[in-house]
Protein backbone atom coordinates (compact mmCIF):
# COMPACT_ATOMS: atom_id res chain seq x y z
CA UNK A 1 0.00 0.00 0.00
CA UNK A 2 1.36 3.41 -0.93
CA UNK A 3 1.70 5.56 2.19
CA UNK A 4 0.41 9.10 2.06
CA UNK A 5 2.27 12.27 2.92
CA UNK A 6 1.18 13.51 6.32
CA UNK A 7 3.17 16.75 6.39
CA UNK A 8 4.31 18.71 3.37
CA UNK A 9 6.46 21.81 3.45
CA UNK A 10 6.23 23.81 0.24
CA UNK A 11 8.88 26.34 -0.65
CA UNK A 12 9.23 27.70 2.87
CA UNK A 13 11.33 30.72 3.77
CA UNK A 14 11.78 32.26 7.21
CA UNK A 15 13.96 35.16 8.25
CA UNK A 16 14.67 36.49 11.75
CA UNK A 17 15.87 40.08 11.94
CA UNK A 18 16.86 40.00 8.29
CA UNK A 19 18.80 36.78 8.68
CA UNK A 20 17.60 33.97 6.41
CA UNK A 21 16.95 30.94 8.61
CA UNK A 22 15.10 28.80 6.09
CA UNK A 23 15.56 29.34 2.42
CA UNK A 24 13.09 27.77 -0.01
CA UNK A 25 12.63 24.54 1.92
CA UNK A 26 10.63 21.67 0.38
CA UNK A 27 10.01 18.47 2.26
CA UNK A 28 7.41 15.70 2.20
CA UNK A 29 7.01 13.58 5.31
CA UNK A 30 5.37 10.19 4.90
CA UNK A 31 2.76 8.93 7.35
CA UNK A 32 4.26 6.59 9.93
CA UNK A 33 7.92 7.16 9.24
CA UNK A 34 10.71 8.08 11.60
CA UNK A 35 12.36 11.03 9.96
CA UNK A 36 15.31 12.96 11.36
CA UNK A 37 16.34 16.52 10.67
CA UNK A 38 20.10 16.52 11.08
CA UNK A 39 22.51 19.41 10.97
CA UNK A 40 24.79 21.70 12.92
CA UNK A 41 23.33 24.33 15.23
CA UNK A 42 21.82 27.21 13.32
CA UNK A 43 21.02 25.10 10.26
CA UNK A 44 17.27 25.67 10.59
CA UNK A 45 16.20 22.26 11.88
CA UNK A 46 14.50 23.49 15.03
CA UNK A 47 12.85 26.30 13.06
CA UNK A 48 11.42 23.68 10.71
CA UNK A 49 10.03 21.78 13.69
CA UNK A 50 8.44 24.91 15.14
CA UNK A 51 6.77 25.62 11.81
CA UNK A 52 5.12 22.23 11.90
CA UNK A 53 4.18 22.62 15.59
CA UNK A 54 2.60 26.01 14.88
CA UNK A 55 4.83 28.19 17.07
CA UNK A 56 6.08 29.99 14.01
CA UNK A 57 4.60 31.07 10.70
CA UNK A 58 6.62 31.01 7.47
CA UNK A 59 7.33 34.31 5.70
CA UNK A 60 6.54 32.61 2.42
CA UNK A 61 5.48 29.09 1.53
CA UNK A 62 2.89 26.66 2.86
CA UNK A 63 2.68 24.03 5.54
CA UNK A 64 0.30 21.19 4.62
CA UNK A 65 -1.10 18.61 7.01
CA UNK A 66 -2.86 15.62 5.46
CA UNK A 67 -3.00 17.62 2.25
CA UNK A 68 -4.66 20.66 3.81
CA UNK A 69 -2.93 23.99 4.23
CA UNK A 70 -2.51 24.79 7.93
CA UNK A 71 -0.75 28.14 7.79
CA UNK A 72 -2.26 30.31 10.50
CA UNK A 73 -3.82 27.38 12.39
CA UNK A 74 -2.71 27.91 16.01
CA UNK A 75 -0.60 25.26 17.70
CA UNK A 76 -3.39 24.13 20.00
CA UNK A 77 -5.56 23.13 17.07
CA UNK A 78 -2.90 21.05 15.33
CA UNK A 79 -2.80 17.29 15.66
CA UNK A 80 0.88 17.29 16.43
CA UNK A 81 2.64 17.23 19.79
CA UNK A 82 6.13 18.22 20.75
CA UNK A 83 8.77 16.91 23.09
CA UNK A 84 10.76 19.95 24.08
CA UNK A 85 14.49 20.22 24.39
CA UNK A 86 14.50 20.57 28.15
CA UNK A 87 11.15 18.74 28.40
CA UNK A 88 9.16 21.77 29.65
CA UNK A 89 7.39 19.70 32.30
CA UNK A 90 4.97 21.80 34.34
CA UNK A 91 6.65 22.37 37.69
CA UNK A 92 3.37 22.97 39.52
CA UNK A 93 1.90 19.60 38.53
CA UNK A 94 2.90 16.07 39.48
CA UNK A 95 3.68 13.30 37.03
CA UNK A 96 0.06 12.19 36.73
CA UNK A 97 -1.25 15.70 36.11
CA UNK A 98 1.48 16.45 33.61
CA UNK A 99 0.50 13.45 31.54
CA UNK A 100 -3.20 14.21 32.00
CA UNK A 101 -2.75 17.85 30.94
CA UNK A 102 -3.74 17.53 27.29
CA UNK A 103 -6.69 15.28 28.12
CA UNK A 104 -7.98 17.67 30.74
CA UNK A 105 -7.73 20.58 28.35
CA UNK A 106 -9.82 18.56 25.93
CA UNK A 107 -12.28 17.91 28.79
CA UNK A 108 -12.17 14.13 28.55
CA UNK A 109 -14.11 12.27 31.26
CA UNK A 110 -12.17 11.47 34.43
CA UNK A 111 -12.39 7.70 33.93
CA UNK A 112 -10.88 7.95 30.48
CA UNK A 113 -8.07 10.18 31.75
CA UNK A 114 -7.26 7.72 34.49
CA UNK A 115 -7.16 4.80 32.11
CA UNK A 116 -5.12 6.70 29.54
CA UNK A 117 -2.54 7.97 32.02
CA UNK A 118 -2.09 4.48 33.46
CA UNK A 119 -1.56 3.16 29.95
CA UNK A 120 1.00 5.86 29.17
CA UNK A 121 2.87 5.29 32.43
CA UNK A 122 3.09 1.62 31.56
CA UNK A 123 4.31 2.40 28.07
CA UNK A 124 7.19 4.50 29.39
CA UNK A 125 7.87 2.30 32.45
CA UNK A 126 6.99 4.85 35.10
CA UNK A 127 4.09 3.07 36.80
CA UNK A 128 4.11 3.93 40.50
CA UNK A 129 5.55 7.41 40.12
CA UNK A 130 2.19 9.17 39.49
CA UNK A 131 2.33 11.30 42.60
CA UNK A 132 5.97 12.34 42.29
CA UNK A 133 6.87 15.94 41.61
CA UNK A 134 8.68 16.42 38.36
CA UNK A 135 11.69 18.09 39.96
CA UNK A 136 12.37 14.98 42.02
CA UNK A 137 12.79 12.85 38.89
CA UNK A 138 16.05 11.96 37.18
CA UNK A 139 16.75 13.29 33.70
CA UNK A 140 15.77 10.00 32.11
CA UNK A 141 12.50 9.87 34.05
CA UNK A 142 11.65 13.45 33.11
CA UNK A 143 12.27 12.50 29.52
CA UNK A 144 9.81 9.64 29.86
CA UNK A 145 7.17 11.88 31.38
CA UNK A 146 7.61 14.29 28.48
CA UNK A 147 7.09 11.41 26.03
CA UNK A 148 4.05 10.14 27.87
CA UNK A 149 2.54 13.63 28.07
CA UNK A 150 2.97 14.21 24.36
CA UNK A 151 1.60 10.89 23.15
CA UNK A 152 -1.30 10.74 25.60
CA UNK A 153 -2.99 13.14 23.19
CA UNK A 154 -2.83 10.67 20.31
CA UNK A 155 -1.04 13.02 17.97
CA UNK A 156 -0.69 11.97 14.37
CA UNK A 157 2.80 13.38 14.36
CA UNK A 158 5.25 13.63 17.24
CA UNK A 159 7.91 16.31 17.06
CA UNK A 160 11.08 15.73 19.06
CA UNK A 161 13.45 18.66 19.52
CA UNK A 162 16.85 17.22 20.51
CA UNK A 163 15.14 15.27 23.26
CA UNK A 164 18.21 13.26 24.22
CA UNK A 165 20.76 16.07 24.28
CA UNK A 166 20.60 16.49 28.06
CA UNK A 167 21.14 12.83 28.88
CA UNK A 168 24.46 11.11 29.47
CA UNK A 169 25.81 8.73 26.85
CA UNK A 170 24.59 5.44 28.30
CA UNK A 171 21.10 6.71 28.99
CA UNK A 172 21.00 8.27 25.55
CA UNK A 173 21.67 4.93 23.90
CA UNK A 174 18.90 3.26 25.93
CA UNK A 175 16.42 6.01 25.14
CA UNK A 176 17.25 5.79 21.44
CA UNK A 177 16.14 2.17 21.42
CA UNK A 178 13.13 2.92 23.53
CA UNK A 179 11.95 5.78 21.36
CA UNK A 180 12.30 3.63 18.27
CA UNK A 181 10.28 0.89 20.00
CA UNK A 182 7.54 3.30 21.02
CA UNK A 183 7.38 4.66 17.50
CA UNK A 184 6.96 1.21 16.03
CA UNK A 185 4.40 0.26 18.66
CA UNK A 186 2.24 3.33 18.05
CA UNK A 187 2.84 3.57 14.33
CA UNK A 188 2.78 7.37 14.34
CA UNK A 189 5.11 9.71 12.51
CA UNK A 190 8.15 10.89 14.45
CA UNK A 191 9.98 14.00 13.32
CA UNK A 192 13.22 14.04 15.22
CA UNK A 193 15.72 16.88 15.40
CA UNK A 194 19.34 16.27 16.33
CA UNK A 195 22.89 17.37 15.63
CA UNK A 196 24.22 13.91 16.48
CA UNK A 197 24.83 12.01 13.24
CA UNK A 198 25.15 8.63 14.92
CA UNK A 199 21.77 9.10 16.60
CA UNK A 200 20.26 10.04 13.24
CA UNK A 201 21.67 7.01 11.47
CA UNK A 202 20.66 4.44 14.08
CA UNK A 203 17.09 5.60 14.65
CA UNK A 204 15.72 6.95 11.40
CA UNK A 205 13.89 5.59 8.40
CA UNK A 206 14.96 8.69 6.55
CA UNK A 207 17.44 11.43 7.34
CA UNK A 208 17.24 15.05 6.19
CA UNK A 209 20.66 16.69 6.29
CA UNK A 210 20.38 20.47 6.61
CA UNK A 211 22.79 23.37 6.54
CA UNK A 212 22.36 27.14 6.20
CA UNK A 213 18.60 26.89 5.99
CA UNK A 214 18.64 24.49 3.07
CA UNK A 215 18.20 20.77 2.72
CA UNK A 216 21.47 19.23 1.57
CA UNK A 217 20.22 15.69 1.13
CA UNK A 218 17.25 13.48 1.98
CA UNK A 219 17.56 9.72 2.07
CA UNK A 220 17.79 6.53 4.06
CA UNK A 221 20.73 6.35 6.47
CA UNK A 222 22.48 4.01 4.03
CA UNK A 223 21.99 6.43 1.13
CA UNK A 224 23.24 9.33 3.14
CA UNK A 225 26.32 7.48 4.30
CA UNK A 226 27.21 5.70 1.09
CA UNK A 227 26.09 8.23 -1.49
CA UNK A 228 26.57 11.68 0.05
CA UNK A 229 25.54 14.36 -2.37
CA UNK A 230 28.17 16.92 -1.50
CA UNK A 231 31.22 17.55 0.66
CA UNK A 232 29.10 18.91 3.52
CA UNK A 233 27.04 15.75 3.83
CA UNK A 234 30.06 13.50 3.38
CA UNK A 235 31.91 15.29 6.13
CA UNK A 236 28.97 15.71 8.52
CA UNK A 237 28.02 12.03 8.35
CA UNK A 238 30.96 9.98 9.51
CA UNK A 239 34.60 10.47 8.59
CA UNK A 240 35.63 11.01 5.01
CA UNK A 241 38.59 11.92 2.86
CA UNK A 242 37.45 14.38 0.21
CA UNK A 243 39.89 15.15 -2.59
CA UNK A 244 39.69 17.09 -5.83
CA UNK A 245 39.32 14.88 -8.84
CA UNK A 246 38.61 14.93 -12.54
CA UNK A 247 36.15 12.59 -14.29
CA UNK A 248 38.00 11.22 -17.32
CA UNK A 249 35.01 9.28 -18.61
CA UNK A 250 32.22 7.14 -17.15
CA UNK A 251 33.56 4.77 -14.47
CA UNK A 252 37.04 6.33 -14.63
CA UNK A 253 38.36 9.10 -12.40
CA UNK A 254 41.67 10.80 -11.71
CA UNK A 255 42.75 12.11 -8.33
CA UNK A 256 45.94 12.52 -6.32
CA UNK A 257 47.84 12.14 -9.59
CA UNK A 258 46.56 8.61 -10.29
CA UNK A 259 43.72 7.13 -12.32
CA UNK A 260 41.10 4.86 -10.71
CA UNK A 261 38.21 2.69 -11.77
CA UNK A 262 34.98 3.63 -10.10
CA UNK A 263 31.23 2.90 -10.27
CA UNK A 264 29.96 6.39 -11.07
CA UNK A 265 28.84 7.73 -14.42
CA UNK A 266 26.90 10.56 -15.91
CA UNK A 267 29.52 13.28 -15.58
CA UNK A 268 30.95 15.23 -18.49
CA UNK A 269 34.36 14.07 -19.61
CA UNK A 270 36.99 16.18 -17.86
CA UNK A 271 34.49 17.55 -15.27
CA UNK A 272 35.99 18.60 -11.96
CA UNK A 273 34.48 16.61 -9.10
CA UNK A 274 34.84 15.89 -5.38
CA UNK A 275 35.96 12.35 -4.60
CA UNK A 276 34.99 10.76 -1.29
CA UNK A 277 36.76 7.80 0.22
CA UNK A 278 35.70 6.57 3.66
CA UNK A 279 38.60 5.83 6.04
CA UNK A 280 37.50 2.23 6.60
CA UNK A 281 37.43 1.48 2.86
CA UNK A 282 41.16 1.97 2.30
CA UNK A 283 43.55 -0.95 2.59
CA UNK A 284 47.13 -0.38 3.59
CA UNK A 285 49.63 -2.42 1.59
CA UNK A 286 53.34 -2.48 0.85
CA UNK A 287 54.42 0.83 -0.70
CA UNK A 288 55.22 -0.73 -4.06
CA UNK A 289 51.87 -2.52 -4.29
CA UNK A 290 49.84 0.59 -3.48
CA UNK A 291 47.85 2.70 -5.91
CA UNK A 292 48.95 5.73 -3.89
CA UNK A 293 52.06 6.11 -1.80
CA UNK A 294 52.51 8.16 1.33
CA UNK A 295 54.08 8.54 4.75
CA UNK A 296 52.33 7.90 8.07
CA UNK A 297 52.35 11.11 10.12
CA UNK A 298 50.39 10.08 13.19
CA UNK A 299 48.74 7.06 14.75
CA UNK A 300 45.97 6.85 17.32
CA UNK A 301 44.82 3.61 18.91
CA UNK A 302 41.04 3.58 19.40
CA UNK A 303 40.52 0.08 20.75
CA UNK A 304 38.68 -1.49 17.83
CA UNK A 305 41.10 -0.10 15.29
CA UNK A 306 43.90 2.36 14.65
CA UNK A 307 43.26 5.70 13.08
CA UNK A 308 46.29 6.71 11.11
CA UNK A 309 46.97 9.85 9.12
CA UNK A 310 48.88 9.39 5.88
CA UNK A 311 50.40 12.27 3.95
CA UNK A 312 49.95 11.79 0.22
CA UNK A 313 51.48 14.59 -1.77
CA UNK A 314 50.67 17.13 0.95
CA UNK A 315 47.04 16.01 1.45
CA UNK A 316 46.40 14.16 4.68
CA UNK A 317 44.21 11.06 4.51
CA UNK A 318 42.62 9.37 7.42
CA UNK A 319 42.63 5.60 7.33
CA UNK A 320 41.17 3.14 9.77
CA UNK A 321 43.01 -0.15 9.99
CA UNK A 322 43.41 -3.03 12.40
CA UNK A 323 47.12 -3.40 11.63
CA UNK A 324 49.65 -1.42 13.57
CA UNK A 325 51.82 1.13 11.76
CA UNK A 326 54.22 3.72 13.02
CA UNK A 327 54.71 7.38 12.30
CA UNK A 328 57.34 7.75 9.59
CA UNK A 329 56.48 4.44 7.84
CA UNK A 330 56.10 4.57 4.11
CA UNK A 331 52.91 2.83 3.08
CA UNK A 332 50.86 2.16 -0.02
CA UNK A 333 47.10 2.61 -0.27
CA UNK A 334 44.80 0.30 -2.13
CA UNK A 335 41.25 1.48 -2.97
CA UNK A 336 38.54 -0.74 -4.46
CA UNK A 337 36.34 0.83 -7.16
CA UNK A 338 33.23 0.57 -4.97
CA UNK A 339 34.99 2.50 -2.21
CA UNK A 340 35.23 5.56 -4.45
CA UNK A 341 32.25 7.90 -4.46
CA UNK A 342 32.08 10.82 -6.89
CA UNK A 343 30.17 14.03 -6.11
CA UNK A 344 29.46 17.11 -8.16
CA UNK A 345 31.34 20.23 -7.13
CA UNK A 346 29.36 22.42 -4.71
CA UNK A 347 29.75 25.48 -2.51
CA UNK A 348 31.21 23.17 0.11
CA UNK A 349 34.04 21.86 -2.10
CA UNK A 350 37.44 22.36 -0.55
CA UNK A 351 36.03 23.14 2.90
CA UNK A 352 36.02 19.63 4.30
CA UNK A 353 37.69 16.27 4.16
CA UNK A 354 41.34 17.15 4.75
CA UNK A 355 42.86 15.84 7.97
CA UNK A 356 45.85 18.18 8.25
CA UNK A 357 44.31 19.77 11.28
CA UNK A 358 43.05 16.52 12.71
CA UNK A 359 44.32 16.85 16.26
CA UNK A 360 42.59 20.22 16.58
CA UNK A 361 39.42 18.62 15.44
CA UNK A 362 39.58 16.12 18.30
CA UNK A 363 40.09 18.93 20.79
CA UNK A 364 37.12 20.66 19.35
CA UNK A 365 34.98 17.56 19.75
CA UNK A 366 35.90 17.02 23.37
CA UNK A 367 35.02 20.65 24.08
CA UNK A 368 31.56 20.02 22.79
CA UNK A 369 30.90 17.22 25.27
CA UNK A 370 27.99 17.97 27.55
CA UNK A 371 29.02 19.13 30.97
CA UNK A 372 27.26 17.74 33.99
CA UNK A 373 25.43 20.54 35.78
Amino acid sequence: MEKENIVELKNISVAFDGEQVLDGLNLDIVDGEFITLLGPSGCGKTTTLRLIAGFLEPDTGDVLFEGKKINGVPAYKRQVNTIFQRYALFPHLNVYENIAFGLRVKKRPESEIKEKVAEMLKLVNLTGLEKRHTDTLSGGQQQRVAIARAIANHPKVLLLDEPLAALDLKLRKDMQKELKKIQQQLGITFIFVTHDQEEALTMSDRVVVMDSGRIQQVGTPQDIYNEPRNAFVADFIGESNIVDGKMLKDYYVEFSGQKFDCLDKGFAAGESVDVVVRPEDVDIVEPEKGMLKGVVTSVAFLGVHYEIIVDIGGFKWMIQTTDEHFAGDSVGLYIEPDAIHIMKKSEYSGLYGDYSSYSEEIDHLSDAEEEEP
Binding site: A53, G54, F55, P74, A75, Y76, K77, V80, N81, T82, F84, Q85, R86, A88, L89, F90, P91, H92, F101, G102, R104, V105, K106, R149, A150, N153
Partner: protein, 276 residues
Protein backbone atom coordinates in the same frame (compact mmCIF):
# COMPACT_ATOMS: atom_id res chain seq x y z
CA UNK B 1 27.59 15.70 53.46
CA UNK B 2 27.16 18.95 55.25
CA UNK B 3 27.77 22.07 53.23
CA UNK B 4 30.53 24.01 54.87
CA UNK B 5 29.59 27.51 55.82
CA UNK B 6 32.15 30.20 56.15
CA UNK B 7 32.29 32.52 59.04
CA UNK B 8 31.04 32.20 62.52
CA UNK B 9 27.49 32.40 63.72
CA UNK B 10 28.69 34.74 66.45
CA UNK B 11 28.93 37.63 63.98
CA UNK B 12 25.15 37.58 63.89
CA UNK B 13 24.90 38.27 67.61
CA UNK B 14 24.83 42.09 67.43
CA UNK B 15 21.91 41.79 65.04
CA UNK B 16 20.17 39.19 67.18
CA UNK B 17 20.44 41.47 70.21
CA UNK B 18 19.24 44.41 68.11
CA UNK B 19 16.25 42.55 66.73
CA UNK B 20 15.32 41.30 70.20
CA UNK B 21 15.32 44.81 71.61
CA UNK B 22 13.80 46.68 68.69
CA UNK B 23 11.51 44.11 67.10
CA UNK B 24 10.41 41.66 69.77
CA UNK B 25 10.37 43.85 72.89
CA UNK B 26 8.29 46.65 71.24
CA UNK B 27 5.62 44.11 70.35
CA UNK B 28 5.59 42.84 73.92
CA UNK B 29 5.27 46.41 75.18
CA UNK B 30 2.44 46.96 72.74
CA UNK B 31 0.65 43.96 74.19
CA UNK B 32 1.34 45.31 77.67
CA UNK B 33 -0.14 48.73 76.79
CA UNK B 34 -3.16 47.02 75.24
CA UNK B 35 -3.87 45.14 78.43
CA UNK B 36 -3.41 48.01 80.89
CA UNK B 37 -5.09 51.32 81.53
CA UNK B 38 -3.25 54.65 81.71
CA UNK B 39 -2.20 53.97 85.27
CA UNK B 40 -0.67 50.64 84.40
CA UNK B 41 -3.42 48.52 85.96
CA UNK B 42 -4.50 45.39 84.15
CA UNK B 43 -7.69 45.75 82.12
CA UNK B 44 -9.50 44.14 79.21
CA UNK B 45 -11.44 47.31 78.51
CA UNK B 46 -9.23 48.35 75.57
CA UNK B 47 -9.72 45.05 73.83
CA UNK B 48 -13.43 44.92 74.51
CA UNK B 49 -13.72 48.48 73.18
CA UNK B 50 -12.48 47.36 69.78
CA UNK B 51 -16.08 46.60 68.87
CA UNK B 52 -16.68 50.35 68.64
CA UNK B 53 -14.31 50.56 65.71
CA UNK B 54 -15.66 47.66 63.71
CA UNK B 55 -16.94 50.06 61.08
CA UNK B 56 -13.43 51.47 60.59
CA UNK B 57 -12.05 47.94 60.41
CA UNK B 58 -14.75 46.92 57.96
CA UNK B 59 -14.23 49.90 55.65
CA UNK B 60 -10.46 49.54 55.78
CA UNK B 61 -10.59 45.89 54.82
CA UNK B 62 -13.16 46.53 52.11
CA UNK B 63 -11.26 49.44 50.53
CA UNK B 64 -7.92 47.66 50.78
CA UNK B 65 -9.37 44.48 49.29
CA UNK B 66 -10.95 46.36 46.38
CA UNK B 67 -7.76 48.36 45.81
CA UNK B 68 -5.65 45.19 45.89
CA UNK B 69 -7.95 43.47 43.42
CA UNK B 70 -7.88 46.42 41.02
CA UNK B 71 -4.12 46.65 41.36
CA UNK B 72 -3.78 42.96 40.55
CA UNK B 73 -6.04 43.22 37.51
CA UNK B 74 -4.15 46.25 36.20
CA UNK B 75 -0.67 44.98 37.03
CA UNK B 76 -1.00 41.44 35.71
CA UNK B 77 -1.28 42.27 32.00
CA UNK B 78 1.36 44.99 32.43
CA UNK B 79 3.86 42.50 33.88
CA UNK B 80 2.98 39.93 31.21
CA UNK B 81 3.33 42.37 28.32
CA UNK B 82 6.64 43.56 29.74
CA UNK B 83 8.08 40.05 29.50
CA UNK B 84 7.23 40.00 25.80
CA UNK B 85 9.52 42.93 24.98
CA UNK B 86 13.20 42.74 24.17
CA UNK B 87 15.63 42.75 27.07
CA UNK B 88 16.71 46.38 26.94
CA UNK B 89 13.12 47.66 26.78
CA UNK B 90 12.27 45.35 29.66
CA UNK B 91 15.00 46.84 31.79
CA UNK B 92 13.97 50.36 30.82
CA UNK B 93 10.34 49.69 31.76
CA UNK B 94 11.40 48.11 35.03
CA UNK B 95 13.09 51.39 35.89
CA UNK B 96 10.17 53.47 34.71
CA UNK B 97 7.83 51.52 36.97
CA UNK B 98 10.23 51.79 39.88
CA UNK B 99 11.06 55.51 39.68
CA UNK B 100 7.76 56.79 41.14
CA UNK B 101 8.50 54.69 44.23
CA UNK B 102 11.43 56.99 44.89
CA UNK B 103 9.14 59.98 44.99
CA UNK B 104 7.69 61.03 48.23
CA UNK B 105 4.36 59.26 48.41
CA UNK B 106 2.74 62.17 50.23
CA UNK B 107 3.42 64.43 47.27
CA UNK B 108 2.34 61.81 44.77
CA UNK B 109 -0.92 61.42 46.64
CA UNK B 110 -1.35 65.14 47.00
CA UNK B 111 -0.92 65.71 43.26
CA UNK B 112 -4.09 63.72 42.74
CA UNK B 113 -6.01 66.49 44.50
CA UNK B 114 -4.88 68.86 41.76
CA UNK B 115 -6.22 66.41 39.21
CA UNK B 116 -9.44 65.35 40.93
CA UNK B 117 -10.61 68.47 42.80
CA UNK B 118 -13.88 70.20 41.98
CA UNK B 119 -11.85 72.90 40.28
CA UNK B 120 -9.12 70.47 39.33
CA UNK B 121 -7.76 69.43 35.97
CA UNK B 122 -10.41 66.88 35.03
CA UNK B 123 -13.33 69.10 35.98
CA UNK B 124 -11.78 72.14 34.29
CA UNK B 125 -11.46 70.09 31.16
CA UNK B 126 -15.02 68.79 31.45
CA UNK B 127 -16.45 72.26 31.98
CA UNK B 128 -14.75 73.42 28.78
CA UNK B 129 -16.74 70.70 27.06
CA UNK B 130 -19.82 71.98 28.85
CA UNK B 131 -19.98 68.95 31.12
CA UNK B 132 -19.69 68.29 34.80
CA UNK B 133 -18.54 69.12 37.32
CA UNK B 134 -18.18 65.55 38.58
CA UNK B 135 -17.67 64.87 42.23
CA UNK B 136 -14.35 63.06 42.21
CA UNK B 137 -12.47 64.14 45.29
CA UNK B 138 -13.59 63.12 48.77
CA UNK B 139 -15.23 59.92 47.57
CA UNK B 140 -14.44 56.29 48.37
CA UNK B 141 -13.41 55.97 44.73
CA UNK B 142 -10.72 58.61 45.20
CA UNK B 143 -9.35 56.81 48.26
CA UNK B 144 -9.19 53.53 46.40
CA UNK B 145 -7.60 55.25 43.42
CA UNK B 146 -4.96 56.68 45.75
CA UNK B 147 -4.20 53.22 47.14
CA UNK B 148 -3.99 51.69 43.67
CA UNK B 149 -1.75 54.48 42.46
CA UNK B 150 0.61 54.51 45.42
CA UNK B 151 1.15 50.79 45.60
CA UNK B 152 0.82 49.46 42.03
CA UNK B 153 4.61 49.27 41.50
CA UNK B 154 4.75 46.78 44.39
CA UNK B 155 2.40 44.56 42.40
CA UNK B 156 3.95 44.94 38.96
CA UNK B 157 7.53 44.27 39.99
CA UNK B 158 7.18 40.90 41.76
CA UNK B 159 4.78 39.69 39.07
CA UNK B 160 7.22 40.73 36.41
CA UNK B 161 10.18 39.10 38.10
CA UNK B 162 8.35 35.78 38.44
CA UNK B 163 7.00 35.83 34.90
CA UNK B 164 10.29 36.84 33.32
CA UNK B 165 11.96 33.83 34.91
CA UNK B 166 9.32 31.48 33.55
CA UNK B 167 10.56 29.04 30.92
CA UNK B 168 8.87 30.12 27.67
CA UNK B 169 8.65 26.54 26.48
CA UNK B 170 6.18 25.79 29.29
CA UNK B 171 3.63 28.05 27.62
CA UNK B 172 4.44 26.51 24.26
CA UNK B 173 4.05 23.06 25.76
CA UNK B 174 0.61 24.00 27.05
CA UNK B 175 -0.39 25.31 23.64
CA UNK B 176 1.07 22.24 22.00
CA UNK B 177 -1.12 20.06 24.23
CA UNK B 178 -4.25 21.85 23.04
CA UNK B 179 -4.67 24.89 25.28
CA UNK B 180 -6.11 28.04 23.75
CA UNK B 181 -4.99 31.41 25.11
CA UNK B 182 -7.41 31.32 28.04
CA UNK B 183 -6.64 27.74 29.07
CA UNK B 184 -2.93 28.49 28.80
CA UNK B 185 -3.42 31.34 31.23
CA UNK B 186 -5.65 29.40 33.61
CA UNK B 187 -3.69 26.17 33.75
CA UNK B 188 -0.10 27.30 33.40
CA UNK B 189 0.65 31.02 33.62
CA UNK B 190 -1.68 31.72 36.52
CA UNK B 191 -0.56 28.87 38.81
CA UNK B 192 3.09 29.46 38.02
CA UNK B 193 2.88 33.19 38.71
CA UNK B 194 1.24 32.60 42.10
CA UNK B 195 4.38 33.33 44.15
CA UNK B 196 4.60 36.75 42.48
CA UNK B 197 0.91 37.38 43.05
CA UNK B 198 1.17 36.47 46.71
CA UNK B 199 4.04 38.83 47.38
CA UNK B 200 2.37 41.52 45.27
CA UNK B 201 -0.93 41.17 47.11
CA UNK B 202 0.89 41.28 50.44
CA UNK B 203 2.84 44.38 49.52
CA UNK B 204 -0.29 46.19 48.33
CA UNK B 205 -2.82 45.00 50.88
CA UNK B 206 -0.79 45.63 54.04
CA UNK B 207 -0.02 49.32 53.42
CA UNK B 208 -3.51 49.90 51.99
CA UNK B 209 -5.34 48.49 54.95
CA UNK B 210 -3.25 50.47 57.41
CA UNK B 211 -2.93 53.78 55.56
CA UNK B 212 -3.95 57.02 57.19
CA UNK B 213 -2.68 59.60 54.76
CA UNK B 214 -4.46 58.65 51.55
CA UNK B 215 -7.87 58.60 53.19
CA UNK B 216 -7.36 62.01 54.80
CA UNK B 217 -6.24 63.70 51.61
CA UNK B 218 -8.44 62.05 48.99
CA UNK B 219 -11.38 60.93 51.10
CA UNK B 220 -11.97 64.13 53.00
CA UNK B 221 -12.52 63.56 56.69
CA UNK B 222 -15.60 61.49 56.12
CA UNK B 223 -13.94 58.13 55.89
CA UNK B 224 -12.19 57.08 59.07
CA UNK B 225 -10.02 54.13 58.21
CA UNK B 226 -8.34 52.07 60.87
CA UNK B 227 -5.06 53.90 60.31
CA UNK B 228 -6.83 57.21 60.80
CA UNK B 229 -8.32 55.95 64.04
CA UNK B 230 -4.91 54.95 65.40
CA UNK B 231 -3.39 58.27 64.36
CA UNK B 232 -6.32 60.13 65.89
CA UNK B 233 -5.78 58.53 69.29
CA UNK B 234 -2.04 58.96 69.01
CA UNK B 235 -2.51 62.69 68.52
CA UNK B 236 -4.84 62.94 71.51
CA UNK B 237 -1.85 62.27 73.74
CA UNK B 238 -0.46 59.65 76.15
CA UNK B 239 -3.82 59.00 77.81
CA UNK B 240 -4.98 57.33 74.65
CA UNK B 241 -1.87 55.26 73.93
CA UNK B 242 -3.53 52.21 75.47
CA UNK B 243 -6.46 52.16 73.15
CA UNK B 244 -4.18 53.02 70.20
CA UNK B 245 -2.02 49.99 71.06
CA UNK B 246 -5.03 47.74 71.36
CA UNK B 247 -6.27 48.75 67.91
CA UNK B 248 -2.76 48.34 66.46
CA UNK B 249 -2.49 44.92 68.04
CA UNK B 250 -5.79 43.80 66.55
CA UNK B 251 -4.76 45.24 63.17
CA UNK B 252 -1.50 43.33 63.32
CA UNK B 253 -3.15 40.06 64.24
CA UNK B 254 -5.74 40.56 61.53
CA UNK B 255 -3.08 41.20 58.89
CA UNK B 256 -1.06 38.19 60.00
CA UNK B 257 -4.14 35.99 59.83
CA UNK B 258 -4.91 37.29 56.31
CA UNK B 259 -1.35 36.63 55.18
CA UNK B 260 -1.36 33.20 56.74
CA UNK B 261 -4.60 32.22 55.01
CA UNK B 262 -3.36 33.57 51.72
CA UNK B 263 -0.08 31.70 51.94
CA UNK B 264 -2.00 28.53 52.73
CA UNK B 265 -4.30 29.01 49.75
CA UNK B 266 -1.30 29.76 47.57
CA UNK B 267 0.21 26.58 48.94
CA UNK B 268 3.59 27.54 47.57
CA UNK B 269 7.10 27.93 48.82
CA UNK B 270 8.81 31.24 49.42
CA UNK B 271 10.12 31.67 45.90
CA UNK B 272 9.74 35.10 44.43
CA UNK B 273 8.84 36.52 47.80
CA UNK B 274 11.46 39.22 47.59
CA UNK B 275 10.90 42.31 45.56
CA UNK B 276 14.20 42.59 43.76
Amino acid sequence: MNKKAFGNKLVASPYIVWSAIFIVVPLIIMVYFSLTDQNGAFTLANISDIGKYKKAFGISILYAAVATLITLVLAYPMAYFMTKLNISSQRMLFMIVMIPMWMNFLIRTYSWITILANTGLINTFLSKLGLGPLRLINTPGAVILGMVYDFIPYMILPLYSVMSKLDKSLLEAAEDLGSDAFTKFRRVLFPLSKPGMISGITMVFVPSVSTFYISQKLGGNKTMLIGDTIEYFFNLGPTYYNIASAISLVLMVMILVCLFIMNRCGGNDEDGGVLM
